[in-house]
């Protein structure tokens, strides 16, 4: 699920943390178990949290023959369906209509004077969301997954056990997929903080607020500010620094700030006082294992890539590992594409320019040593066919210099980077491009100057960052290609689809 401000800080419920601790103790000293617990209902797989990740994992496990149960204290579907992606996108679509209505006159439609009625969309949106709740319910019933209503706490027991409304449930595998909730600043930090609302409250609003202040610079803040402003609320966005989306590519970050201001959102910069707490995530390894055997966590509660499809994919991979004996089944967290439904929307996948900027690598080609510099550079240009837009292709340049130019005594350390399958495939044609090597320090600027031989074949596109109309639907296919390790040459060789915005990405010179 994309929406809620776990990015700012996830407050994994403290009670849950306590529960995990209790369980750890129990496991550490099983002999100390005193009172025999009342008999617990037992399952093969117990999932705590009926959101995207939990439901996907439970259903996949059930398909693989496991007896599964889902514990959920609220509505099924979790953040995504109830207070996240789904209602958010509905509101975004609503806001996009206001932009269309502006365009109508230019396209020859007359008398487009319009008023906006918040009640209509609120009602339809709620109806749609509850339809989805029912679908989720039916899906679980069809898959013979038991739904346990209530909130789970871990309990002592010989096997991982949880307690819901006084009843005990046990399973050899328990998945924590409880997601997160928006953070509210402490009353002691900001007096009156409780008078504000979070994204959850936004979806309960019965009327369009006439005047709104959104505090935060993350994508949820940007999305909500854009929606409110487009629908006619006088909107201010209060941010701590000078730009929104500061962990995005710098071009996107400044462009989005500009777009917000152009759209009439007042951006209040350098304001003081909002602190976020970034603790509370459950720590998991790449296989979603927590520190306790038999207990796993997926999704927002882990604090990594807080997106619905990530939770779904991780949940399914886990089910395959647990119930199909696929030992190495895990989610690859690299190159996860994501879209911010700002106005216009932002699409981003892969590295930004800021990270991994320059890495020097020594390549060993059978007998001789070659030095390769990997630079992350960006190629960008604005495009404007269907409205203002900008995008950046971030590329890794693989350049190779002759062995004589190699630094004298590098301290070899294990290489942290490996070639993608696509580049390995290209290696057949470019034998100098070998992945074996060692990382060295970056201090020798003289060497960098000597590196010249660069062709588009050596340009691996490692990131795409864009903002513009249509970027939301454009990104997915490009993400497949970036994941495959597509090079700039591959982009050049792809024929454009005319006239679209996406063709700009393959026609860059």
């Amino acid at each position: 699920m994309a929406l809620l401000p776990r990015a700012l800080s996830v407050g994994a419920a403290p009670s849950l943390r306590r529960a995990v601790r209790a369980l750890t103790c129990a496991m550490a000293s099983p002999g100390e178990l005193q009172t025999p617990a009342p008999a617990a209902a037992s399952f093969d797989y117990l999932v705590i949290g009926g959101g995207s990740g939990g439901l996907a994992s439970a259903r996949r496990a059930a398909e693989l023959g496991a007896r599964a149960a889902v514990v959920e204290g609220h509505k099924l579907g979790g953040t995504c369906v109830n207070v996240g992606c789904v209602p958010k996108k509905v509101m975004w679509n609503t806001a996009v209509h206001s932009e269309f209505i502006h365009d109508h006159v230019d396209y020859g439609f007359q008398s487009c004077e319009s008023k906006f009625n918040w009640h209509v969309i609120k009602e339809k949106r709620d109806a749609y969301v509850s339809r989805l709740n029912t679908i989720y319910q039916n899906n679980l019933t069809k898959s013979h997954i038991e739904i346990i209503h209530g909130y789970a706490t871990f309990a002592d027991g010989p096997q991982p056990t949880v307690e819901v409304n006084g009843k005990r449930y046990t399973a050899p595998h328990i998945l924590i997929a409880t997601g997160g909730v928006p953070t509210v600043p402490q009353e002691s930090q900001i007096p009156g903080a409780n008078l504000g609302m979070t994204s959850d409250g936004f979806f309960q609003l019965e009327d369009l607020p006439r005047r709104s202040v959104i505090v935060g610079a993350g994508y949820i803040a940007v999305e909500i500010a854009g929606i409110l402003s487009a629908l006619g609320s006088r909107t201010s966005l209060m941010i701590r620094h000078d730009k929104v989306l500061r962990n995005f590519d710098s071009l996107i970050s400044s462009n989005c700030t500009e777009e917000l201001e152009n759209a009439g959102v007042e951006v209040l910069k350098f304001s003081q006082g909002v602190q976020t707490d970034d603790k509370g995530h459950i720590i998991v390894d790449e296989f979603q294992n927590t520190s306790v055997k038999g207990i796993y966590a997926v999704g927002d509660v882990c604090g990594r890539a807080l997106l619905t499809p990530v939770a779904i994919a991780a949940g399914r991979k886990l089910a395959h590992r647990l119930f199909e004996c696929k030992k190495d089944s895990k989610l690859d967290y690299d190159n996860i594409p994501t879209v911010v439904f700002s106005h216009p929307p932002i699409g981003t996948v892969g590295l930004t320019e800021g990270r991994n900027r320059e890495v020097m690598v020594i390549c060993a080609s059978s007998s001789k040593l070659l030095l390769a510099k990997i630079t992350v550079c960006k190629l960008h240009q604005p495009f404007s066919f269907w409205g203002s837009a900008r995008w950046v292709l971030v590329c890794r340049i693989f350049s190779v210099c002759p062995p004589s130019k190699c630094p004298t005594s590098p301290t070899p350390s294990p290489l942290s980077f490996s070639l993608s399958p696509r580049l390995q495939q290209l290696r057949r044609f470019q034998p100098t491009l070998l992945p074996l090597g060692y990382q060295i320090s970056l201090t020798n600027t003289e060497l960098i100057k000597n590196l010249t031989f660069v062709t588009s074949v050596f340009l691996q596109v490692v990131g795409i960052h864009m903002q513009g109309i249509g970027c939301d639907e454009m990104l997915q296919g490009f993400a497949v290609a970036v994941k495959m390790g597509a090079t700039k040459a591959d982009f050049d060789n792809t024929v454009a689809i005319h006239p679209t915005s996406s063709e700009e990405l393959v026609t860059l010179r």
Partner: protein
């Protein structure tokens, strides 16, 4: 990829520099004799391909000229520099498609809480003016670009005198002789008129005219089943005009047929009328100024008649080769379709004369392929490159009301090539989130990915029917060009909630017979 091609092609590269030196010498002599202007490269046709080739060659430091001339349509429509795409094709088409989509949006708006005063009227004149102004700005842009790159532009109708010389005639009848070492023919094509049908030429219009009409076409009959026909009928219906499509046989020949029928099914359910298996026989002008069309229904053998304000022919296109005097230069055409016969290097039967774009035989009639071919040709001629245009996996999108984007093989082609037992088709009917609140019917929102059956299941083709298909398809085309397999597509995390994520979620095979309707996130 380019580098691979270079490596493979290197040894067979032609001795172009030597040939060039030789022709230069002879041309110098001719120059002294006559007063003609001579160039390294002369491009006939200022459309997408021709302009791209000319500009690229100029950037490589060559002396380049472009000869472009628009013969008015039978209805008298004419336009500026830039060719079909800019003036009477992609650009105005997509803008009018956008106008139609906006019309749908107005209808939807009240579901989203917008109280829009109904009914909303559409004003053709206003739209056409806005579209035409944009086109004119593009015409101007092309002129400026040629000037910036020092490409000499001649607004003349060109025909060959000999294999190195072309005679250009301007509007006033003044002639200019142009000669060049290399000549590129990029004259494109024009809509076909069914001249055997009485009244067709006098009363019918084509896509050359529709975008330049000053008044609304009113009740329109579109004849044909090509993408041009369906796109025009789609936007005409969308802006509220009574529109009928008359087609002889199947829609979108050459495209995947399952997708094609979904496209027409969607149009039918959104108000476009279809007369299938019908052929018009006579067009008459009534005293009211309306057109009476008589047609024959081939299934029943019966004749029928209807009255329309406009009849639009979209039954195909013919290459512009008739007026070029190609025989003077010795350039061969295919007598069946009048297209210029070319080899893989885009060379015609005369080695220094080339043809690119719609006028060349066997090439897709698409702007981006013509542009790419033009640029690559310029590099082969003047840039020490030998890279050829790769025509495999060319993506395209049909901008019907529900857009259809595709790349690679259709299901039929894949089965014909690899056999039914080696092809796996993943498919899904999905409902765009945008449609849910407005209760829009999504029965035709459908995706299918055609793969090899053997793991890792190489993707052979992707077909996407739904909103924003053009934007969705481009990136996947890149992936497929890189050799994506089904497994690799599935490894990519989805973007939620979008329509494009449905592609990376495809998991139901046709072979399984399971219900392919997507439910939930």
């Amino acid at each position: 990829m380019a580098a691979m091609v270079v490596a493979l092609r290197g040894p067979v590269g032609r001795f172009r520099s030597r040939t060039r030196a030789w022709t230069r010498g002879t041309r110098g002599a001719a120059n002294a004799a006559g007063g003609q202007q001579s160039f390294d490269l002369l491009v006939i046709g200022g459309g997408s391909g021709g302009l791209a080739c000319a500009k690229e060659a100029a950037q490589l430091g060559r002396k380049v000229a472009v000869a472009d001339y628009v013969e008015p349509s039978p209805q008298g429509t004419k336009w500026g520099l830039g060719g079909t795409c800019v003036n009477v094709g992609c650009i105005p088409k997509k803008l009018m498609h956008q106008a139609a989509l906006l019309g749908g949006m107005v209808k939807d708006a009240h579901h989203y809480g917008w109280e829009v005063a109904q009914p909303i009227q559409h004003n053709w004149k206003k739209m056409a003016e806005a579209v035409q102004n944009h086109v004119k700005s593009l015409n101007w842009g092309h002129r400026v670009q040629l000037q910036d790159r020092k490409v000499k532009y001649f607004n003349v109708k060109a025909s060959f005198v000999d294999e190195h010389t072309v005679c250009g005639v301007d509007k006033g009848g003044k002639t200019t002789l142009l000669s060049a070492d290399h000549i590129v023919i990029a004259t494109g094509g024009r809509p076909k008129y069914p001249t055997q049908i009485k009244g067709a030429l006098e009363y019918g219009i084509t896509s050359d005219d529709i975008f330049w009409l000053k008044e609304s076409p009113g009740k329109t009959l579109v004849v044909g089943a090509s993408y041009v026909a369906l796109e025009c009928a789609g936007f005409l219906t969308g802006i509220g005009l009574d529109t009928t499509v008359m087609m002889r046989s199947i829609p979108l020949r050459g495209f995947d047929q399952q997708m094609s029928s979904l496209v027409t099914e969607h149009m039918e359910s959104h108000g476009t009328r279809f007369l299938k298996g019908c052929i018009p026989s006579v067009i008459k002008k009534l005293p009211t100024g309306q057109l009476q069309v008589i047609w024959k229904d081939h299934a029943s053998g019966k004749e029928d008649t209807g009255t329309f304000d406009t009849v639009l022919w979209a039954i195909g296109r013919v290459p512009e080769t008739k007026n070029l005097n190609l025989e003077k230069a010795g350039v061969n055409i295919n007598p069946e379709n009048q297209k210029i016969v070319v080899d893989a290097q885009d060379a015609t039967s005369v080695p220094h004369i080339f043809a690119i774009g719609d006028v060349a035989e066997g090439r897709p009639e698409l702007t981006p392929t013509a542009i790419k071919a033009g640029k690559l040709l310029a590099h082969r001629l003047f840039g020490k490159s030998s890279a050829l245009m790769d025509y495999s996996n060319v993506p395209t999108t049909v901008f019907t009301p529900l857009e259809y984007g595709c790349v690679g093989l259709s299901e039929e082609e894949a089965v014909a090539l690899h056999g039914q037992e080696h092809v796996e088709v993943y498919h899904a009917y999905y409902k765009p989130l945008e449609f849910t609140v407005t209760d829009r019917d999504a029965s035709q929102c459908y995706i299918k990915m055609v793969c090899l059956r053997e793991p890792p299941q190489l993707v052979l083709g992707l077909h996407f029917l739904g909103p924003n298909a053009g934007e969705v398809t481009q990136g996947f085309a890149l992936g497929i060009k890189c050799g994506a397999s089904y497994a690799q597509v599935m490894q990519t995390v989805g973007i939620h909630p979008t329509c494009s994520e449905e592609v990376v979620k495809l998991h139901i095979t046709k072979r399984s017979g399971l219900e392919p309707t997507v439910t939930g996130c």
